[in-house]
Every structure is written in C-alpha cells, then in structure tokens.
Symmetry: D3
Subunit: 277 residues, 6 copies
C-alpha cells in the first residue's frame, strides 16, 4: 500500500508506522489528507499483520502545525459555498462537514490496534485533536503544543475539547490551555499527564516508540485489542456497565489459544508466538 500524503512503513515486526509526509508545509493538513488518514487507519484496524501503530510527522520542525490555513481559507469552512443560502442551510452544510472531518480523525480511536503518537517540535491545533484520539502519547523535549482554536476565532473542535476531559488531565489546566491558546512544553505535558513519556529528541522518541510498539506487538493480540477496547468503553460508561461489558467480551476471548501459549511461554521461559488476528 502506498499513499500520497503519508509514509507507511514497518519499523519492526507487526508494527506499522504512519508518518505525515508534508514536512515542507510543517505537515499541515488539507481536506484530502484527513480523508486519506481515515482510509489508512480503517485498513490497519483489521490488518492481521499489524498489532501496534506509530503515528508521527516527517521532518525536524514538528508533528504538525494543524490546519493548512491557506487551504482552509479556500475550503468549505471559509469558502462562499452555501453562503448565499440562509444561516440554517449554511449550518447544515457546516455540520455535515465537521461530522465528516471528525469521522476521519475518529479512525485513530476506533482502530482496533493501539496507536502511539510521537509529538515533536510544533504541535498546534489539529495536532492535539489527532494526539487526543491516540492511545499513548510521547513527546520530545522541544515539543511546543497549543490548542489554537480560540486564537483563530474558531470554536471548531475535531475532538480536543471532547477528548481532553476524558484523558483524565486536570480540568483547571485543560481550561487554562484551551481558553488562552497558550503554548505548553514537554515538562508541563508530562506533569499533567498529557504525555506519558518525554524523549531527548526526535530520534530518541522514535526509537522509544518503536521499542514500546515492539513490546506491545509481542503480546497476545487478543489480549491487547481487548485491553484497548475495554479501557475505551470504560471511559464512557459507569463501572457497572464496564464490568458487564468485560464479562461478555471475555467470555469469547478467554477461549483463545493465546492463553495456553502464554502460560507455556512463561513456564518454558521462552517468548510465545501468537496467531494473527
């Protein structure tokens, strides 16, 4: 598979690496890109050769500067399309557009395999929508994050405002960064828990991501996918609903051959091999 705006590689067995490939424009996004992103993650979700995904941006300058403002200013949000109609029809047009945009980004969260996001350098606006939809976030020391929507007069949210409160970051801090659009760096990101790890530079961060992804890919894919699924379900439901869901999910999953393989591996002190999923 080869894509126009993203590089797709396999840094290590069972691991896919999706790299935003538009370094010249600081990996900023236009509409065609988020549609392609949605396509990629929809495929990876069911690809039996993939057990963990790394998501990062090409080049030294940053993960992504967010929306490509020039493209956006010609795109549907700013374009005059539908502007001759009344505000209700324009609203319908915009709602459909946001819905479609959200659906593309949402594939990062609904991807059955864990997604590790590597944030380096500039990570503005859409960068946080993307990162929030991933499972694990690590960053470099030089990262510069910002929720930019209030700064460009836009309350448009493709997931940051919805997912940050669910990422269990202190609510006072979330409101501070979302209402001021101020930047925050690696130390702060780690302290509040937005990222779970900070690496010296991009190389180190990528090494670490590959290592982490390799570890996860070495586990039973049945167990790994169940873990992602149950954690996400639990985030959005009561504990009682969570416990019930786990019962039902695992009533099938505990029948996996992986359980025996893992136990045997443990006893025989050698790394178990698990069937594809």
């Amino acid at each position: 598979m080869s894509y126009t705006h993203f590089n797709l590689t396999t840094p290590t067995e069972w691991v896919a690496h999706v790299e935003i490939n538009r370094a010249g424009k600081l990996n900023s996004f236009h509409e065609e890109m988020w549609h392609e992103l949605g396509e990629i993650f929809t495929k990876l979700s069911h690809d039996p050769n993939v057990r963990c995904v790394i998501f990062s941006g090409a080049g030294d300058r940053g993960f992504t500067s967010g929306l490509d403002v020039q493209a956006a200013s010609k795109g549907p949000l700013m374009s005059s399309e539908g502007s001759d109609t009344d505000p209700a029809r324009r609203a319908t047009f915009l709602r459909r557009h946001i819905s479609d945009f959200q659906a593309c980004i949402n594939t990062l969260e609904t991807c059955e395999k864990p997604v590790i996001c590597v944030l380096h350098g500039i990570a503005f606006g859409l960068a946080l929508d993307l990162a929030s939809a991933c499972d694990i976030r690590i960053c470099t020391k030089n990262v510069r994050c910002a929720v930019r929507e209030v700064d460009i007069g836009l309350a448009a949210d493709i997931g940051s405002l919805t997912r940050l409160p669910k990422a269990n970051l202190p609510f006072s801090w979330i409101k501070d960064v979302c209402l001021t659009a101020r930047e925050f760096g690696a130390d702060e990101a780690l302290r509040v828990g937005f990222v779970s790890e900070v690496a010296e530079d991009k190389n180190k961060a990528m090494q670490r991501a590959v290592e982490l992804a390799g570890t996860i890919a070495g586990k039973s894919p049945v167990a790994v996918q169940a873990t992602k699924e149950v954690l996400n379900w639990s985030r959005d439901h009561s504990v009682q609903d969570g416990l019930r869901y786990v019962q039902v999910w695992n009533s099938a999953m505990l029948q996996a051959g992986d359980v025996k393989s893992a136990l045997m591996g443990g006893i025989q002190k050698k790394k178990p091999r698990f069937e594809k999923l």
Copy 2:
C-alpha cells in the same frame, strides 16, 4: 450595579471582578450571600460587556472560611423550623433548602463566561464547593484548603463531592482529603491538579488572574464561550455525544464574523476586535 456582600469591579476591559466582601468574618457565607452571588453570576452570564470573570475574597486572611457557623446555627439547617414535624417532612424541607443552595452556587458553572477563582489563605468547606464550580483555579503559596464536611458531622455537599471527581483529580487523593478533612496547601494542590498555577502572594495572584482574564477576554467571545460549553458538556457525556454536540453547536458558531477577524488579525499581525456577545 452595586451589591451588599460583594464588590463588583472591572480591573481591565471586558473583565469583571467579583470579590466576597466580608473580610471581617473571613468572608464566611450566610444565606443572603449565596442568593446575592447567584443573582450576580446570572447577570454576568448574559452581560455583553463581560467576557471573563475573576472571583476572589477580600482581605488578607483568606478566600472564605466557608459557612458562617453562627449564622448557620440559627439558619434552616439547624433551626427548629420543621423539627416538630416528622422526619419525612423535615427531609422535604431540607432537600428543598439544599437544592436552593446548590442552584446559587451552580451559577458559577452555568455562567457562559469563564470564571477564574483566586484562592488565598483560608479556603475551607464552602470554599471548595465554590472553587470547584469555577473554570480555572489559581492559588497563593499560603493557601490552606480543606473539605470540612466530615468534621462538622455534615455530609452536606453543595458541589465539592460531585465536582471534584469530575475535575480529574486522582480519586485516591480526593477520598483522602474528603474523608479526613485534613488541610492541604499550594504545592499539593498544584501537584494533584486542583489548581493550575501558584502565585507568591495575593497581590501576585490577583495580577496573574487579571492577566489571564485579559488574555481570554482578548479572544473571540464566540470561541471562548463555545470552549467552556463544550468542555463542560464533554465532562458529563460520552465522547460520541460530545462530538455530536460540537457539530451542532459549531454549525451556527462557525458563521461568526470572528473567524474572518481573527484570520485577518493573524495575517496583518494586529490584535483583532470582536463584536459583543
């Protein structure tokens, strides 16, 4: 507008400052006060001249020591009113009273504009109910916070027990401070995320609050209010419900002139001016 128990000032353009004005009694609250507080924030919520609110307590000694115990002991909770009736009628009387009390405090959260709470010195009991209902919390180094309900034999909750778990503070810590009623200071408040910033003293904290409020007030009020609204909605709903709500909210809000103003401001490198809201 002038009030009996609160000072209402305008420290900088678009910013309102509500100060509890009962320093002689450590800004402790009696019933008349929370009704006036409710009135104030209900008005500020729709006041087009206000884009951000600061909430603090007068004097050096503290934000507020909570309920005025002397007044409370004569008030409805302790008074003999309704006590000659049976426990069911007394319960109805108390439920209505708590409901009414909560409704007043709730205006801090439902105020459409962000509310920044400045905590200094003593901040006991009701102090935390109030602070939890605000959007951003900053404190001074000398702050002394305590959830006091268990200490006065009261499980009465005007919002702390309900909002602290939703403020994304570690649950083990929440239970520790709520079950022991022990004090905690600025360092601990910052570490767990109850506040997002600590200032050297009250002056510095107020300066910082005004600066922060000024920053927020300088942004598009359409974007700022949407941000507060969507963050609060997302806290209480699933991610899917959050994303849908954002679509609908923004289908109208993206039609604001602010988007163009902000973009132009960005290109022309000058601060945009936004219409009232």
Copy 3:
C-alpha cells in the same frame, strides 16, 4: 469471626484490618479466597463496630502476586470443564464465572465503610483489581506494581481496566502500563496519582494506614459513609445527577444527631463521640 485465608484484627477502635494470609505463596489467590473475601467485606459493610477498613497482605514479600497460576491452571478458566461443549456454551460458563469473581471483588467498593489499601513489594495482576476497588491507596517505597493480563495472554479483567480510567489517572499512562504489562514503582504511582502516599517500608505504611483509618473512624460515621457513597455515585453520573442525589441522600442524613455533637465538640474543643451506624 475467624477466617481461613485472611486475618481479621482491630488495630484501633472502630478500625478493622483485613490481611491476606498466604504469605508462603506470596498471597496469591485461588477461588476459595475471593469468595471468603467477599463474605468478609459484606459483613464489615454493615458491622456497626467498624468505621474504616485496612486491607493489606501478610509477610514481607508483597501485597499479592495475583492469581495463583497453578491453582488457576486447574481451575474453571483453564480446566477442561465445559470444553467439550461448543464455544457458545463455554462462553456462558466463562461469563458466569467472571461475573461471580467480579462480584466478590466488588464488595470492596460497595462496602459502606472506606477501605484503605496498603501495597508493598509484589503487587501484580489481581493486586491492581483489588487496589482499584479500594478507596485510598498507599504504598511502600519498594512496591512493584504491574497490570499483568496481557502478559499471560489474558484479557480477563476483574476490575482494573474498568476502574483505572475512573480513578482519574492520565489515560496515556493507563494505556502504557496496561498494554505493556511493565512494572511501575512507588514514585511513578505517586506521580500519576495511583497512590496518594508513599511510606518508607511496610511497618511505616501500616502505621500510616492505622493513623489514617483512626482519623476517619473518629469522624461522624454518617458523614463518612455519605462521603464515600456520594463520591462513588458522582464518578459514574453527570454533575446534575450527582447534585440531585446529594440532595436526596442528605435530606435524611442531615437529621443525624452527629451534626449537633460535632458542632458542640467544635465549640467545647473536645472530640465528639458519635453513635454507631
């Protein structure tokens, strides 16, 4: 009351201490044990002589190493029982088994009295399910925690995956430790908020737990139980539902004699005594 697999003692007035008593096997659990645990906490929940509970593991080596793998390999999850039937019937068998297991662990959460968990040394797998169901977690410096399910090919969750996201720990961190099964120690546990306190060693941790439990036990049991109840309810409901629940709960609870006792105690500067509950 005397139990086979647990020691039940009273380290200080109103405080019960439940100790896993299988140090020879690193306090690992077999089925009989979680049933007995469920029985114990069901009784403590309504025991008027108990106002706070401490939960810990016997011996120096650790809190618990989790499931007794040898016992488990002969138990229902691994046994051939039901394996001659089709996967649907096997699934039903497993679902019932997980449901029953969860119900036992759930008694820690539904126990009306606060439960303080002391984690020392090894705390693997089931250790985290147990600890997550407790109210307050403290640990020793030498603690070694790990969510082990992905490592034994099992996605079986008896509560960790459901409760960790609700314990308000950073979601990126939760996914990191749950997907990699890596160990984490005391510093990390404190930093992310999994524990609210770290003690030098097991003795110090137990002393601290008894002190904490004693403090809580000294408060009005009406207020303490209401606090646990309302915090847990709020975790799983919207703020509006939480505020309503508090109104109703406290309409009865504010009629407790404890309120007067506590107020008098405060005025007369002596420790109030509260009636049993």
Copy 4:
C-alpha cells in the same frame, strides 16, 4: 394570589386549578404569559395547601391555539433584534430565548405536585408542549390536537419532541403526527395513550379532573410526591439507577407519620388525614 393571564382557584380542598384566561384569543400565548405561568407553578410546587393541580384553558373553543402568532411575529424570534449581527450572535440570542422559554414550561414537570391537564377543543402547537410536561392528560371528545411546528416552518421545540418519546407513545405514531402536523382527535389520543381518559364535553372533563385531583389530594402527600418524583426519575435513568434512587428517597420518606395514619385509617375504615407538606 391573583394573576393577569391565569385564573387560580380551589375547586376542592388541597386542589389548585390554573386556568389560561385568554379565551378571546383562543388562550394563545405571548411571552409575558409563559413567564407568569412559570411563576405560578414555582409557587404551587412548595405551597403546603396544594396537593394536586389542574391545568386547563378558559372558554369553549379550546385549551390553547399555541403561540400567539401576531405577538410572536413582533417578538424576539421574528423581530429584527440581533439580526444585524452575524448568525453566531443571532444564534446565541435565540438559544438563550429558547432556554428561557423551556424553563417556564418546565415548571409544570418540576412542580412537586401532580398536574392534571384538561385538553378541549383546539390544542395546537404549544398546547402539546404544555400537555406533555403535565403528569396526567384527559381530553374531551371534541379535542383537536396537532403538533404544528413543521407547518410554520419552525423546528422550535419547547418540549413536545423531547417528551413525547418519553411518554411511551408508539414511535411510528409520534413521527407521523410530528412530521405531518396533521390533527388527531380524542379516540386516537386515547388509543395511543397520549391521554388516559376521554370525557363527553368540557364540563364533564372538568368534573372528572376535579374528582381525580380530589382522589390524589386525599392520599398521603409524602407518598404522592415520592411517586411523581420516582416515576420521572425512572423515565430518564436505567432500572438499576432507579432502584437505588428509590432506596435513598424512601429511607427518609418511610419515616413519615403518614404510614401510621394510613394503616390506622385502613383498620378503622375511615379516611386518614395527613399533615401538610
């Protein structure tokens, strides 16, 4: 208490009758009216002399023809107020207006005492918003109901679209009448369950309402209010949440002297008298 747009009478002990008093204009509503309505029901909710409320329209022609279109066309929805601003600001203006309107109608539902709605003749548009917020609906044979919003190009909903699906009426029927704006009469209203009773004419309907209200007012007000509260809560929550709420609510309410009075009344075969609430 005397009101401008409504007659407030006491047809029988403990029963209040609120009558829309604008027969000349077919009881159609303008803004001042719904504010007064909100005031009335807020007062009745806590009035210890009222145990049940009847709500109806004056005159022969009908309950209400809904919004006073002439007034509305000069009112905020149609007025040019805010129309010089951009669509986002106009949307904010409209949202606040709808919110305020809904809050007034909502007092019918939040009134602690049951509200019986009598529908006769014309009952269009707002009539259904009002009726849906009441507890019991009875109508006359000549009633002509219609959900009119789609007919006047308005999707404005003050509660019909939200409450009809929760009134347990067949969803296919709800969509039929809401999407076509067609009229439906007494037989259909009874068949689908929108009303629970049909009377020959307005006199009979009023007699029946007074009889029904008298019956309810003769019961323990503690039990009656609990019944309304728990039914409404259960409508919006899961069965488990409903059962828990009942436990807590009744832990206070079962302590009412009413229980003894009712039991004694039953044994002594005479109507018990209950204390005010």
Copy 5:
C-alpha cells in the same frame, strides 16, 4: 428441591413452575418469603434443565394481595427497631432493608431464563412489583390490579415505579394508576399493554402459560437467553450502545452448535434438539 413458601414443579419438559403457596393468606408476602423467592430464582437462573419459568399464585382468590400487612406491621419497616436512634440512622436501616428487598425481587429480572407471570384475581401492591420484573405477563379476565403504595401512606417502591415506565406503557396512564391507587382490570391491562394476553379463567391462563413456556423452551436456549439479555440491556441503554453490545454478545453465541441444528431442523422439517445451557 423443595421450598417452604413456594411450590416448584415441572409442568412440561424444560419448564419450571414457581407457585406462591400461601393461598390461605391470599399469597401475601412476609420477609422470609421474598428471601426464599430470591434463592429459587438464583438457582433456576443457572439450572441447565430449565429453559423457561412460569410464576403464579396458588388458589382461586388471587396472585397475591401484596405485603402481609400484619406481618409488615411487626416487621422492620414498622417495628420500633432502630426507632430510638436519630432519623439518619433509621434511614440507613431502612435503606439497607429496601435494598435487600429489591435484590430479592430483582432475581426475577436477572434470571437468565424468561419468566412468564400469570396474574389472576387479586393482584395488589407487591403483585405489580413482582409482575413488572417478569418478562411476559398474561392475566385472567377477573384480575384486579392495583398499585397500592399511595393508599397505605407508603411511597415504598420495590420496582413498580421504576419498571413500569420502562415497560413502555403510556406515561399518563402509569401516573393515573400509581397516583390514585385505583384498580384496573384485564381489558385495561391489555389495552395499555401491561399484559400481552388475557385468558378466560385461571385454568385457561395456566394452560396458555405452559403452552407459551413450552414453545420458548423448544427454541435454542442460547438464542432465547441472548434475546432476554439484549432486550433488557437495550431498554436501559442508547441504540448505539445496544448495537455494540449485541455485536460482542453474539460474537461468541453465533458459534453455538444450535445454529446448525436449527438450520438442519428447518430443512429436514423436524424439531431440532438443543444441548443444555
């Protein structure tokens, strides 16, 4: 298995019949009885020889007259136990008691096998709590139903007020019968949907129940249990959550041998036999 207060028989293969056996007292319930009921249904839930359950009352006079008032007047609700303590402690005592009572009745709903309730003659108070917790309700022509709580000054709800709104009966009708405590008969019960069938007399009703139970018991138990489970889950969740739950539940259940058996049975035109569950 033999029980004190209930007859347990097997009217046809795979069908259990639980009969309230206290005809002399109109099958009225005292505390020991609901505990035994809970025990019975907990066992039936997992009994592989049972695929459908019928629940009815012995004798000609009625299903059950509800609580045994004489017993109740000596029981915990009315007894002086706990009455020397303050209202808060009494409330705790009552809450625990209601919770325990609800848990027993709840076993009818959580029983994995469908429960058919046959209502005849007197069916007052607790009768409706019991019937509401069953899956299918049929009644005789002479049935006399009443929600009696408001008549005995009690708002105590063991499930009627919580489950009737979820049984999709018209809300106006529910409030009518719950607020007036009036009786309703077979025709009304069928018209509003409380029962799905009316039989001429008790004999016919029992015959019909056995026939119905036999039909259900002849289907794949995997499919039958899934159907009950998914319908109950869907009642309490959104459609999206329902669809997801179905996916997960059936991912295991579709692997049943029953699918092949049923298909073969269909092709070969003979009744398939299904393995126990």
Copy 6:
C-alpha cells in the same frame, strides 16, 4: 443513479422510492444487497432533491422474507472461514461482520430525511430489523410479521432487539414475539403501535405512503429534518439533555428563511415553497 438490487424512483416531487428488487426470491437479502442499501441511503441522506423516502419490497408476496438462507449458509456466518482458528479469533471475525452488517442497516436511521416503510405480505426476520430502523411504518391487511431469530438458532440481532424496546411498544408484547418467533398480523401490529396505519392492500398502502411522503415533503425541509433528529436524540437521552440539544440545534435552524415563507404562506393561504437542503 441505477442500482442492481433496488429500484430507485421518484413517485412525486421531492420523494424517493427505494424498492427491494428481488421478488423472485421473496426479496430476501444477501450480503451484496445490504451494502448496496447502505450506499443508497447514505446518498439520499444528503441529496437536496429528496425530502422524504419510501422503502418497500417488489412483488406481491411480501416485503422481505429476511436473510437469504441459502446465501447465508455459504456466507461468512456459516462458512468455514476462520473456523480453523480458535473461538476468540472466530469471535473477532464475527463481531466485525455483525458490525459491518449493522452499519448498513443503520443508514436507514441516520438518513437525514424521514423514511416510511411499507410492509406487505411476508415480513420475517431481517424485515423487522429494517422496519425498526425506519421512521414511520404502515402495513397491509395481509402482512405476516415475525422476529425469526430464535427459530433459526440465532440470537443475531441487526437492530430489532435493540430498537423495538425504543419504539415504545409494550415490553411484555415485545418479549412474547421475540421469544416465541410467532407471527403477528396487521391488527396486532396496529394495536401495539408497531405500525401507525393499516391499508387494505399493497396498492392502497403504496398510495398512502406516497400521500404521506408528499405531505412531509411539502413542509420546510429544515423543520422536517430537525424533527427527525430531535426525536431520535430524545429517544436515547434524558429530557434535560433533549431540551438542551433542541436549544442548540434550533439556534441555527430558526434563522431559516423557511420561517418567513411558512408564515407568509399561512397568511396568503398558499402553499409555501422552501429552498433545497
């Protein structure tokens, strides 16, 4: 647009008619068909020339007999694909398959325009999943409906079990027809509310559907789409959440030119024309 398995016509202005075109096989479905169905409704949802959709089956014999059993027996559910793997992997395969199937049927519900389902003759199994996902259901006198899953040993649910309880049909009746798989006809369907209208025969039913669709298509499309959206949202949320959603939705929609057109139309007594949406 032309399709393989469906006829797409325009019986009257603004109305699309989707007809299942496989009368030879009683309109039974194989996998290719539900994918095409999903495609069609996804397109219609945003097609500005369509304001209402009719959905029916070709031929005299029936709407659809459900799954094409022969095709299904070769399809993924029955095929040996994945059967050589363990039950956990097979479960994953099945879950993805059900999810995909549900997503296709779901397009009927998420289609922004109302969908009227015409049921005639045979309407078994999948027929009810399809019909439940539509907005308005009408049927012919000779309709024969059945929820067939339990009869073919399948608990597979593509939406019936999830949506019937939300269609506000009596729960006892739902469980009766879902657990017995028995047929029910037009009278019963109307009595319980599954359909809102019965027509003499298929011709009459189609005429009626076109009439109904024409009526709806003549209304403001802004109002019609809002009505469908808000009713569906309200079904799945609390009344408070419903009211809030309406406020936000209508803050944009009330700005439609349709409001003025409709008002003018009313005054000038001529049918208003509304802009496309």
